[in-house]
């Protein structure tokens, strides 16, 4: 491959993936034919292909009828996945604490690497994190499958969980849900609703689109509401300092969500950081009001955070190489 061909091929990455697959070879052939007599690649050719690729990406991102609704549904699905994954991870990692408050049927019965884990929490964590990662990587079918599996796990939990031993009553959903939110991660049965909505949203969400300013503001508002809920819960568990950190991190993510760039990779980092950082904080400072977080739980949280960053990084790089239009 000549230097010119190598550079021309790189320039073709400016085109959306579908167009590149359909016409890339033809465009490359024409560029090579047109500059055959040159030793060096033609900057004008490269510039024109990059400009044409950018134009096509912008055109591809124009919101069609219902596009805003679909984009909103996709983002709502993502936000719900973020919340549920965060809570699920938190649940797994706090099993030592939960052991004293859970009924026998949910009590930790598996021991993995020194962690006591209940099968129910583990199943929920796997399904919600799976849905989250699938959303981030635009694997819609996998996201739907994970979301539905999460629903099944929750239905199973609700159907078979003993009612005794928890504040609130099974039939009083509002009071029950509020109790759950204020005592996260003890009782997650209200996650059933987010997961159902998640499955529905993913099912109707289409290709990502450039969000309008209204949608971006809506993202900010929803982010703040989610953050406020998490902060309340974390304040309950870890104290004001950890809660402040939890507020700041998602605020950063909300700022990203307001930008025209695809917010999913950045947002994907949040739940795991939310889990890892406060645990690390409480571990380092040995807060006497917080049940001891073992080395392994801190390590696992940090490792999960690194994995989330890696997923986000490869997703972003993939888009830069010419995947879906930035910001779907």
């Amino acid at each position: 491959m000549t230097p010119s061909e190598r550079i021309y091929r790189a320039a073709l990455a400016a085109y959306p993936r579908d167009y590149r697959a359909a016409r890339g070879d033809e465009v490359l052939g024409t560029m090579l034919d047109a500059t055959e007599a040159r030793r060096l690649p033609d900057v004008r050719e490269v510039g024109s292909v990059v400009a044409d690729g950018y134009r096509r990406r912008v055109l591809a991102s124009v919101t069609p009828p219902l596009g805003a609704l679909r984009a909103g549904a996709a983002w709502a699905a993502f936000a719900l996945a973020v919340l549920t994954a965060a809570v699920a991870v938190l649940g797994v990692m706090r099993e030592d604490h939960l052991a004293t408050s859970l009924p026998a049927s949910l009590a930790p019965s598996l021991h993995v690497l020194g962690l006591a884990i209940s099968p129910w929490f583990a199943a929920f964590a796997v399904t919600s994190i799976g849905a989250l990662v699938a959303l981030v990587t635009s694997a819609r079918r996998a996201a739907i499958a994970f979301a539905l599996a999460g629903v099944a796990v929750q239905v199973w939990e609700v159907a078979f969980r003993p009612a005794a031993g928890f504040p609130g009553a099974h039939g009083d959903f509002a009071a029950y849900a509020w109790t759950n939110v204020s005592t996260l991660p003890r009782e997650p049965w209200h996650w059933l609703v987010p997961s159902l909505v998640l499955a529905a949203c993913v099912a109707v969400s289409g290709p990502r689109r450039v969000p309008g300013i209204g949608l971006r503001i809506a993202r900010l508002v929803v982010s703040l509401v989610l953050v406020a809920g998490l902060a309340l819960a974390m304040d309950h568990l870890y104290g004001a300092v950890a809660a402040l950190g939890i507020v700041l991190l998602p605020l950063l993510a909300a700022a990203v969500a307001l930008s025209p760039l695809d917010p999913r990779p950045a947002l994907a980092c949040v739940p795991l950081l939310v889990t890892a950082l406060p645990l690390a904080w409480t571990y380092v400072h040995a807060d006497p009001t917080t049940p001891a977080a073992g080395d392994l739980t801190v390590l696992a949280g940090i490792l999960l955070g690194i994995v989330a960053f890696a997923v986000a990084g490869t997703t972003s790089a993939h888009r830069l190489r010419g995947g879906t239009p930035p910001q779907s």
Binding site: V27, T30, R44, E45, D52, G53
Partner: protein, 108 residues
Amino acid sequence: MTETMREPTYFVLAALLDGRLHGYGIIKRAAELSDGRVRITAGTLYGAIDRLIEHGLVAPDGEETVSGRLRRYYRITGEGERVVAEEAARLRAASEVVARRLHPAEAS
């Protein structure tokens, strides 16, 4: 195409009036027709061709691989011939507006 036709688009259509051509063939022919003034780059060419196909003025007309390079051919449609003829008439009328004022004797 309701908008004003851009020059590269005009020369793409003009190049295809002599028969079907592949991408580089169009670039070469446009340069010949304009005495080397119009140098269409690949990005400009395919942006124009796709718009012309979308408006039904140009149509794909087969492909072949030469020396490992894919060549797709294009031909002008009847509608394309009509539109480029209209554009030529518009340009001729526009040029005459100026010519009549600069050289009144010749124009009359």
